[in-house]
Symmetry: C2
Subunit: 626 residues, 2 copies
């Protein structure tokens, strides 16, 4: 039986694809190059893939949709893309669904100065050789390698083309080396054309940086949602999915490789760089992402003792990753990981911030879906990972979105309007920094109890302004605070506040445990660095306002940008930094929080918005609506 094929058209982009009958609308959207947010793993729980079928034939509403939408909404065509299957040609209007291209906003700035000295593991050497003669009949390869005065391995793919390349260029040639291996031999002098790409594979976002290996400049950067997101928002959901069937590990590899391939296309197009001149790639990311990249199951990371398959730096041909658009000479390196939940991204942060050599005591916090904390103190490098969740990236938040036009990115109750929105757009949701500001302001204005509960009217402080009072909606189905009451209401719900609380509590607890392990207190800290594309955009005042950090002066808090990506760029430009990555990974001491006796107690204190010990535990059970 031949499957029927139907056309699915997405508005407003007008992109259309043909899919088999029975395919899900999410699959169709993915095929159309549209990034669908599937934070809940396509279970119809998160409502992020909400859209509207304008015309055509799709499957009936599911129970999940009936819970989320009213009958009227369903009648008007409201659907969750993950819940419906295609039964005929149809047209679907998407609103919240973002195209992959939109997500790059945060990485446009070039955050790195070129290093003073470039000593990339990918190098080129131009040679003007003498042709063979009766007196000197040396083999072509030996002739080309002789000037190196050292033994290198030779990629066997090269030997067939060597004689032609040398003769057509009059024995003027450029050798391409990756560490101690000859990976290319080119006619003439091509030493000015050498590029590499550094990738930071985040659970939520993948960022790529196109680097000129000659000048050391980052020429372009781009980011895209990690296509694995359709199988869950956090690493644990992804591990669960991958563990269901052996072929799921392969699928996860293909999804991340596809994300990387699309970024490569964008980076090269933007800079008019020829793909033949891409010689190397450096990948950083958390341990689970590094496993998926190498088609290796991270299954054992999910349960104690959380043993990964590998932590070391590995390297190979780009074709091994299924990146078939790259030339056969392109090599890749994965940076080393420290433990199951402290990955190469943390090593990159150490590298980029030079935290290991800073005098005094320094803290670096990489805020992503996992929050990794590094403490350099008393000559020790202590690390831990906290399950912050995707709240700061807009995930698991009712109206959360990435920092794209329409997102509330700043909230200040003393301003009018209280919200700032990215771009010249109507507010349609809020991104991480907006959320954090909002919660911080609600704490400051005593709208929130220290436990995190939105206070009942009888508990509101007398000083609370009337315009703010109006924004607080106390209902049976859950309280919320309305930030924008425009065309679309944008609000922070009690549940959103709980997500923020859990996230900041986890990070705070991690910090406290590392400080204790190092035998210092917060007052001994000389600096706190906030890393991560998202973390760097959070306002230090708000971070302190919600108590994510211990009590330190605001002036010692510095956002450092996507330090993980910066570290990968550094490894691409310096053999020394690449080697250093491995020695830092070995040197780092990893504290496994889930096994720490102190963690539970510390965490219960840390989620509190007040200064005292945890009252949350006492109050939590009776106050929140589901």
């Amino acid at each position: 039986m031949v499957d029927s094929l139907f056309k699915v058209k997405f508005m407003p982009s007008g992109r259309a694809v043909t899919v088999a009958a029975g395919a899900s609308l999410s699959l169709a959207a993915h095929e159309a190059g549209l990034e669908v947010d599937s934070s809940c793993g396509s279970r119809g729980k998160c409502g992020k893939c909400c859209a509207r079928v304008i015309e055509g034939n799709v499957s009936e509403p599911t129970a999940a949709e009936k819970t989320l939408f009213s009958d009227e909404e369903l009648r008007l065509g409201r659907v969750l893309l993950c819940q419906r299957t295609v039964l005929g040609n149809c047209t679907v209007e998407i609103d919240q669904v973002r195209s992959a291209e939109d997500a790059c906003l945060f990485h446009k700035e070039i955050f790195l100065k070129p290093p003073e000295k470039i000593d990339s593991p990918f190098s080129k050497i131009h040679l003007e050789l003498s042709p063979p003669t009766v007196e000197d009949p040396k083999a072509d390869l030996e002739r080309a390698l002789e000037p190196l005065r050292r033994d290198v391995k030779v990629d066997l793919d090269l030997t067939p083309s060597i004689p032609r390349i040398l003769r057509k260029s009059g024995f003027k040639t450029t050798l391409v080396l990756f560490q101690e291996e000859l990976i290319g031999i080119e006619p003439g002098d091509t030493t000015t054309e050498a590029y590499g790409i550094a990738f930071d594979i985040g659970t939520t976002t993948v960022a790529g940086y196109l680097v000129d290996l000659v000048t050391g400049r980052v020429l372009s950067s781009a980011s895209a949602a990690n296509r694995q997101a359709r199988h869950g928002a956090d690493v644990v959901s992804r591990i669960t999915y991958a563990g269901q069937k052996p072929e799921h590990v392969h699928e996860m590899q293909v999804l991340v490789a596809d994300t990387v391939a699309s970024l490569i296309d964008r980076l090269l197009t933007e800079c008019h760089t020829h793909i033949e001149h891409i010689y190397g790639m450096v990948f950083t990311g958390n341990t689970v992402m590094m496993h998926f990249l190498l088609a290796t199951s991270p299954g054992n990371i999910a349960t104690a003792p959380f043993a990964p398959v590998f932590t070391r730096s590995l390297s190979g041909k780009a074709t091994h990753l299924g990146l078939r658009n790259l030339p056969p000479h392109t090599r890749f390196i994965t940076l080393p990981n420290i433990a199951g939940y402290v990955g190469a991204d943390t090593v990159s942060v150490m590298l980029a911030t030079r935290i290991y050599e800073r005098p005094g005591n320094w803290l670096a916090i990489d805020i992503g879906t996992n929050g990794e904390v590094v403490l350099s103190a008393n000559g020790r490098l202590l690390t831990c990972s906290t399950a912050a969740g995707p709240a700061f990236e807009g995930g698991c938040i009712s109206q959360g979105m990435r920092a794209v036009p329409g997102a509330v990115y700043k909230v200040d109750f003393k301003e009018n309007p209280i919200c700032s929105v990215i771009g010249d757009a109507e507010a349609s949701g809020l991104c991480g920094s907006g959320l954090l500001d909002a919660v911080s302001e609600m704490v400051k204005f005593d709208i929130l109890h220290r436990s995190g509960r939105i206070q009942n009217p009888d508990q509101w402080p007398a000083s609370l302004d009337g315009s703010l009072r109006e924004r607080i909606e106390i209902t049976e189905t859950g309280s919320r605070f309305v930030l924008v009451n425009g065309k679309k209401k944008v609000a922070v719900t009690q549940k959103d506040i709980r997500e923020v609380q859990l996230a900041k509590g986890a990070i705070r607890a991690g910090i406290e445990i590392l400080l204790k392990e190092a035998g210092i207190t917060a007052s001994d800290l000389d600096g706190v660095m906030l890393a991560g594309a998202f973390g760097s955009n959070l306002r230090p005042e708000s971070i302190q306002g919600i108590g994510m950090l211990p009590d330190v002066p605001t002036k010692i808090i510095t956002p450092v940008g996507n330090a993980a990506g910066a570290g990968a760029v550094m490894a691409l430009l310096s053999k020394g930094d690449l080697d250093l990555a491995s020695s830092l990974a070995s040197r780092a001491e990893h504290i496994e929080l889930s096994l720490s006796k102190d963690f539970q107690r510390t965490f219960l204190t840390a989620i509190d918005f007040g200064k005292g010990a945890g009252s949350w535990e006492l109050e939590h059970s009776r106050e929140d609506k589901p």
Copy 2:
């Protein structure tokens, strides 16, 4: 248009294949696994692929066939396989055509004692590891590599299977290393199962040796005709063919790889060895063969300054050679070459004979299609290559054949009968040793003039026995000496004698030039080693009888077997020997005979069968019939 397909059946084996209309009978024979001798490069000149079409439809006789066969023979179905194409189902009887299996006779003896100490570049280490715990949550790979206490590269293909292998074996595992790379990880203790194969890729014959890497024993050996032979008998014809079209280089690679693959099958079947336990292969052979093996054009070796593409030792995955029946972990190494015409086989001979460390002055001669000469004298290692041609392997000889049943392998005019034949068979041709004996006896009995000419009756010595006189046939179309006058006449022709003369002359000239370069004479030699599967089977007395060697006592001449193959086995069993191969290749001084001012003069003297200076040049033009 769909091509018509026809069935071609070969007798007496009964093997049948289906080929497209228009395919040559040689191709059909190859497809049927039958080795067709195409010494002339399928030009219909050598007559070696003679067969008979019993029934069916093939193309008309060609001009080449009409020259070789009488009308009567053609009427009876006589064909050259290379000249006819298939036009319908047919049955072909082959006589001279040998199956690949027949060619192995000469390698059955195990010529090597296991080395005292085995230190193969392919090694296994059994480890009993502790499983990860909360106190020791190290990654699987780091856990497995820790006991090595050194840094090794890791084959990326391994990471996906590591967690399963470790857990299913209770963390009892065996690591497989190729030099400093982890190429395998196996459950349990598999250290007793480790095999490798050494190959000597000769222009005419490919020999393989299955080696137990644990005991060092050669378990089995086999040889087969190099399938490239269909494109010419010597390296120059092969280079010419490969140069005609770019895809011909690829074809030559496939042909040698197919030959290797068929040998692997035979070796493994014979020893019931599982292919999964083949970890490494070492290849030796002449420089041109090493180029074809790596799909690299040896085109520039054909003309001065004879520059190869590479001489160094190279290594890679067996899959790179298209040997897809081997597991992905199998690696190969090619031994280093010295120059365009002095290849890895010569380095192997040096290694196997330990000529470099022998006190005094030693000569080693590897007699194959090229005759390589090595002289170790006064601390120098001098080498040269001589274009001996395939005469000693039965090539270019009118009734030449390999040393298989039916071949005259020994000739002694004082015996009765004068010929010894291999196996319980009627004589059907003569192999290299038989040819050499015959020529040597003809020289000894003054049947040949010192110039190589078969003497006219008026010049025969009075002492010449009547039974020998009867064997000399002087005709207008060329004189010959009949060795066997049985069911089939086996004779040595004047042209055959010229081939022997050119071959021995080339080798003798090479020896003289090396001796002169070293500043010694033949009387300074402490030993002469005859290497090569064929060379070793030539009788020292006959070798001296034809003057291939300078005047040295017979007792210092030692046949050493296929030293090239033995050297490859040694490299497979010892890292030290593998490294030594590279240093010997660098240390060897190569004398390019074609550029030597003395060569022509020395050669003209050397082809003479007498003791004096060359009379050949004077007599040659007027005495031989074509």
